[in-house]
Amino acid sequence: MRRVAVILAILVRSALRGMQSSAVASGIAVATIAIALLLIGAFALVVVNMQGLLDRFGQDLQITAYLEEGLSKAEQSLLAERVSTVEVVGRVRLISKQQALERFRATRGGAALLEGLEGNPLPASLDISLLSERRTPEGLGILNKALDGLPGIAEVAHGQEWIEGYARAASLARVSGYALGAVLALATLLIVSNTIRLGLYAREDELEILALVGASRTFVRAPFLLEGTLQGAIGGVLALGVLWAGFHLLVPQLQYGLAFFLGNTEPRFFAVAESLKLISGGAGLGLLGSLAALMAWRS
């Protein structure tokens, strides 16, 4: 027990001493990890805020269900209510015949067209928007089925193409987000492990001498792995700091442009849990990197 504690103390001391004695190499490793995580983190920030972006693109996606003539106001409201209970539906707005007429009148040439007219040929309708996460052909299918079963709905008009295009685009954005994230993570891992490997290269002699003096594999490797993990964590903290500063410096400046992309979703920074993930991601990268380096070293 005591011996384990002593050995642990030696290993930790050894790791710290390693970082201190090869301060330049350590600093370089930390900087590299920080830069790599900065890229990942910036990317993650975009992804975190991407939902807002997608919603923005999807907000024009509106399905119009024209109602049959001759429904009472109460019946129309009931219909609207029933539609809004469909699982995929976000918001339902009832457009009465009167409102439809006014809308039409506001369009160019509309007033002229209506001049000679008596009565109101325009039908009442429900403007239905889907929940942002259900803006898919499947979601649309569910809606259609639900609407089919409802008496009082004359016809459903919606941009099938639009919604398919949107769904494809959204899933493309998500998939390419994940793909890019994976590529970035892989690139980061490679860069970090390369960096650590080069650092090891510069300290090969040291590890070899330790082995010659009778140090066990653990004794040689543990401090090195610890060092990598620590460097990774420090890199993560640095990256997070720079991201935070960048976010708070840049976002106010870009507000207008961002608003266009994000609609009225506020751009947000990482939550605490996400921040911790970034840092522990850094530590993990450092650990993995040094593991990979060690494995490459002795093969």
Partner: protein, 223 residues
Amino acid sequence: MYHVSKAYVAGAFALQDVSLDVSRGEFVFLTGASGAGKTTLLQLLFAAERPSEGQIVVLGRNIARLRGSAVPALRRRVGVVFQDFKLLRQRTVEENVGVTLDVVGMPRREVRAKVFTMLKQVGLQHRRYHHPVSLSGGEQQRVAIARALVGEPEILLADEPTGNLDPDLSVEIMDLMMSAAMRGTAVLVATHDVGLIERYHKRKLHLDAGRLVEDGPAAGRTE
């Protein structure tokens, strides 16, 4: 360590068909021209190299068949003074010597005390916070010797341990190694220093181009 025996035959190049046996507490000189195979022989003994042929039994273990994971345990019982010192450049003299004790998990305080005593014996206690680069060649060599001796090894392998030392210091160091042998350590010293060999009249192994051509006490033995 009850008996050290090395029945030893290595492959074609550096050493050829060498057999020898060293027992506990024995002090042996290893001589031979440059490139004769002295370093190679020592390296085989602490499993830095594996023999291409033959068997080596060190401390009851057969090196030729030792698992990789058992090597560190063996090495902790063997002290080695390398011909090129092999000091850790990034660490102080004290840490360099202490590393032998660190690897067996000795508490720090004890390590420092032992290291200090050892450094005093090689006359370097005042240099203990220096780094190897700021030491002279002879000082580095003495650090290497201190590192090999501080763990009170059961076997001491010293490769040209006095090549950078002046005659007076050489004698001091040899005496240090002698007293280790007295305490039961098997000591093997590879050296070119004819003066030393003559002075100590110990068993002498002479290698020539990888073959053991002489094995016996130096002529004019006094003990």
